[in-house]
Structures are given as C-alpha cells and as structure tokens.
C-alpha cells in the first residue's frame, strides 16, 4: 500500500466531439499489480487504456507513470506496451521480425535482438521453428503468444491488455488465462487488463475496477466486488445475485435495525460491518449471492429466511439453478451444488435461508 503508484490517473476526462467517454476517472495502480478494468461496452474502459498508452490526448486530467506526467509524451516514448484486441501482428513480418520489432526500432544490434527473441519464445512456450513463419500460419492461441512476446520484449513498465482473449474459444481462453497469470507472476510487470468478461477479471486480477458510462463505480479486490458491491449495477454485473428490498429503521455504532415484509429475522438487526457506508435510513437492498442461499426447515435456526415457491429448475452439470417466487412476488435465484437427487422440486413450497455473514446491504439505485 505504501509503495508509490506506478500509474496514477487523476480526474481524467475524455470527450469525442460532444460525447463524454470518460467523466472524471481517478485510479492508482500499484507496481507489480494485475488490475482489471471491467464494464459493459461503451463504459470507457478501452478509452482509458488508450489514454494511458498515449494513442489519444486526454481532454483534461493527468496521467502519471512512475510519477512522470505523460501529457504530450507520444505513445512511442511511453514505458507502456499494448496487447491489442485484434492482436495487430504485422502480416508482412515473420514471427521473429514481429517479436523483435520494438528492439529493432530502438536500434538494438541484430544478434542481441535474436537472443532476446529466443528468450521470449522460451518464456511464451512457442516452438522455435515458428520464428520463420508468418503470423497467419499460426493458430489463434499461438498468435496470442507472439503478440504477448512482442509486447514484453522491450521490458515495459506497464503491460496494457485490450481484451486480447475475447475472440478465442472457451477452452483456449482458459489455457491463456492461466498463461497470463503465470506470465504476470514470473515477470513482475504491472498488468492493466481490459475485459468485459467478469469471470476472467475475477480469476486474473489482484484488483478489479468496475466502470460504467465513463466513471469508476467500484475499485476493489475480487471478493470485495463480488460480495460487497457498491451499487445494484455492480452487484448485477458481477454475476447473478438477489437484491431484496428492506427498510432501514435505525443505526447505532455496531448495529443497524431493519424491517422487511418477507424476511423472517428473529433479531431484526444486522452488524454495521455488513452495511455499505452510504446506506442511510429508509429503503435499502439486501444482496445475497445465489450460491449462499440454502433450503431449510420452517423452524430451522437460520439467521434469515423466507418462504417461496420453486418456479424453475435448471440442471447445469456441476450445479443446479432454481428460480423461486416469494409470496410478495420477489424473484429469487438459488444455486446448489449438484447432487444425484434434487433437493427441491418444481412447484414445491420451500423455506430458503442464509447466514448474515454472507450478505451485504447497499443503497438502491439504477441497476
């Protein structure tokens, strides 16, 4: 925490004509960190990456890399390197020429380049015989490795990844995600990874930055984002969730009291640590992830429970997903690890319960 940020973005705005793509973004990235920028299309995550890479000028605000203001510094002179969504391998150059290109531009001697290219090939686990081939002759995954090798060869301070895995099939994606994680650990370079795939962000990143409409909604570790979302949008964007309306009636130092016409809670209060700081008196939402809800008995000793009718059953191999509707019309999603017999049947009236430690209370807002 104490280390000076390697990348420091302060109140960056970017407009295309009259369209504001970034509306005041501030973000500090720690050295050696793997940070993921996630959000729906058009949220500004790629725009932010382009500002850092230096492909576009910011409208206002500052970007510092290792404390140095990057205003007016062209992309070519920034200590950053980008892996493009479409990879952008040069089709008229061989794999070796592609990987060595950044060093060639830095006027490094050809024999030194050759050695460095060999190092990169080994690091990326590419076969040496690929060096003389053209990128088109390689598979998608191999091209990906070449693109990574080209970006890493000039030893950048910051590696910027612009959804490089989005075009790959699921199986290959998994392999390359593991590869990225391994690469990050072994080279110690700071990674800024843009993706719209949340699972990917959760898997890879040390911290996730959720963006929407040109603003950062939440920045935190994957578990923070997942279990303690800042607002209903983040909660819903990061996988399926249940947001149950409650009414906050009182606050004190370590407890918050609430009422609900659905939820049966003997205590009627929550530890303050489970309530977002900006939640005040009045309506709020209780967030519980589908996999943390269990079927229970009417009299079971569970922190919170409610009665509902099972409306849908989806068997998804390893897990079974249920939809249930409470008597006041609240739709719930429940996910249970698959067992050979289904714990709930379609149309069955059941009690659903969860532990207080598994929930989080946030302010209602735009989902």
């Amino acid at each position: 925490m104490t280390a000076a940020p390697i990348l420091s973005i302060t109140d960056v705005h970017k407009s295309y004509g009259t369209y504001p793509a970034l509306k005041g973004v501030s973000l500090d990235v720690r050295p050696g960190e793997f940070i993921a920028l996630v959000g729906p299309s058009g949220c500004g995550k790629t725009t932010l990456l382009k500002q850092v890479a230096g492909f576009e000028d910011t409208t206002s605000g500052t970007i510092r890399i290792e404390g140095q203001d990057m205003a007016g510094v062209p992309a070519a002179l920034r200590p950053t390197s980008m892996v493009f969504q479409k990879l952008a391998l040069f089709p008229h150059m061989t794999v070796a020429q592609n990987i060595g290109f950044p060093l060639k531009l830095r006027k490094v001697a050809p024999n030194v380049i050759a050695t460095r290219v060999d190092d990169m090939i080994r690091l990326m686990e590419l076969k040496p015989e690929y060096l003389k081939r053209y990128p088109k002759a390689l598979s998608g995954g191999e091209q990906q490795r070449v693109a990574l090798a080209r970006s890493m060869i000039s030893s950048p301070k910051l590696l910027l990844l612009d959804e490089p895995l989005s075009a790959l099939d699921v199986k290959l994606k998994k392999v390359l995600q593991a590869e990225l994680k391994r690469l990050h650990r072994s080279v110690g370079v700071t990674f800024v990874h843009v993706t719209h795939d949340l699972e990917e962000a959760m898997m890879l990143a040390d911290r996730i930055c959720v963006m929407r409409a040109g603003k950062i909604l939440q920045l935190g570790e994957p578990a923070d984002i997942y279990y303690r979302p800042a607002d209903p949008f983040v909660a819903g964007f990061i996988g399926e969730t249940n947001l149950m309306p409650i009414t906050i009636t009182g606050h004190n130092a370590d407890h918050v009291t609430y009422t609900s016409n659905e939820i049966v809670d003997m205590q009627g209060s929550l530890p303050a640590a489970l309530v977002a700081a900006d939640v005040g008196q009045g309506p709020a939402l209780m967030n519980v992830r589908p996999e943390l809800i269990r079927r229970c008995d009417r009299d079971a000793d569970v922190d919170c429970k409610l009665a509902a009718t099972v409306t849908e059953v989806f068997t998804k191999g390893g897990t079974v997903q249920y939809r249930a509707r409470s008597k006041h019309g609240l739709e719930l999603a429940i996910e249970i690890q698959g067992t050979s017999h289904l714990p709930m049947q379609l149309g069955e009236d059941v009690w659903l319960g969860w532990a207080k430690k598994d929930m989080w209370v946030l302010k209602p807002g735009e989902a």
């Binding site: 390197s81 969504q85 952008a88 040069f90 008229h92 950044p102 531009l105 970006s151």
Partner: protein, 288 residues
Amino acid sequence: MDMEVSRSWREPELWVKALPSVILQTTCFLAPLVMTFLLTFQKTQNFQLNWTWNLATWTDVFSKPHYWTILGHTLAMAVACVVVCIVVAFPIAYGLATRFKRLDNEIKVLITFAFITDATLKTFGWVLFLDKKGAANYLLAHLGLPPDTVAFLFTDWATLLGMVYNLLPFAIFTIYLSIDNIDRSLILAAYDAGAGKFRAFWEVTLPLSRPGIWAGSVLIFLLGVGVFLEPKVLGGGKSPMSAELIRQTFETRVNWPLGAALTLVLMVVAIFVVLLFSRVAGMRRAGA
C-alpha cells in the same frame, strides 16, 4: 489438402457446372485469339483476304526494325506512365484513406465521375489547354512569364501527360483500397512498439499497401500499352505507339495478317513483362 483442389475433373457434374463458363470463355476469348493467330499465316491481295498458308507476315515482322522500335517506344511510355501514376497516386490515395476520411464518399464519387467522363473529350480538352495560344500560356503570360512557356504539345511529353491523366484514377483506386484495408491497430501497434510517424509509415503502411501498388501498376501498364488516343491527339501522331500502328495496319493498309501478327507480338511482350514484374514483386514480398 484443400477439398476444392483435390476434386477430380473426372466427376461429370463438375463439367456440367463449368460448362457455361467454358462456353463463354471459348467463344469470347479463346476463339478470337485462335482466329487472330490463324490470320497471321494468310495474305491480303487487292484488299481481299486470301486463305493461303505461309510465313510471309512473320518474316516481315521479324525483319523490319521499325515495328520493334515502335514496340520499344510503347513499352517505355507505358513504364514511364506507371512510374508517374504510382508516384502521383500514392500521396493522393494515402491522403484520402487517412487524412480526408470524412470526405471519403464525396471524393470517391468525384473519382468515379473521372472514370465515366469520356476519355476522348478529356484528351481534346488538354489540347485546348496546352496549345500555343491555349489556356495555359494565356494564364502564364498574365503572371508575367514569356509567351510559349508551355510548348510541349505534340511531343511525347504531352502524350505521357494525357496517359497519366486518363489512367491515374486506376492507381488511386487500387492504392486507396489497399491502404484503406490496413487495420488501424497495426499503425497503433507500430507507435506502441516505439516507432515515430515516418517509421510507422515506412515499416507498416508502405509494405502493406504494396499489393495495391502492384495491382495498380499492372493495370496501368496493360492499359498504357494499348493507348492510341493520347499519342494521336496529344502526341500529334508524330511517334505512334503500337496500338495506333495496329489500327493503321488494319484500317488504312488493310493488311489484316500483319495487324494480327503485331497484335500477338504486343500481347506476348506485355504478358511477359507483367510476369517478369510479378516474379520480382513476389520475390520481394517473400524476402521482406
């Protein structure tokens, strides 16, 4: 192996499917060519074609250096035209594909108009402009330059100007298409790797626009070898090129066998030059 390639011609259905194309190619392309070839072994007497088999025409063609001088001149003019067209067209195409992207459609319409305006009309327009008492000299005289500053009408330079003017759109279009096809992220990748604007252009844009340059060159060369309007109208007919010679041989001299032989010579030489050219281009690409 590719499925399409490994399919055998013995399959009868392939023949049926290929038939329309085969018929079209044979009647419209192969048959006239064979006719032209057969014509070269005949003779014309009293403006009548005599169906007699002999090699007189071919001996004539190979014994008179006059024909070959004209052919050499034609090739030289076509090559010069290619060089000038590419050099002039590249910056225009580059500008259209990059800087003036917003005016893209308007400019494409203008270029298309240049294509559909009759070449004869445009060529005669140049005569009016380049004439001793023409528009160019009139304007230059008003700028204080001596009269007759522009005095190259009815020379090869005027012919070349006309050829370049009429064929330039082909080069602009082919080069424009290849530059427009270059993925923008490739240029960004070059910047990102540490290249300045010029280096990115030299290392990425230029090599990747080569297919357009080659295609434009071949197109202009083949069209340039066949021009007859420009040497006649702007060159004043003083140094005719092959196409004009062939036209004269057919129409004025009514020597069809000789005309046919000259046509074939021009075709073979032009194809040979193009093959040589593509060989060199292919080698350069493989070595790049």
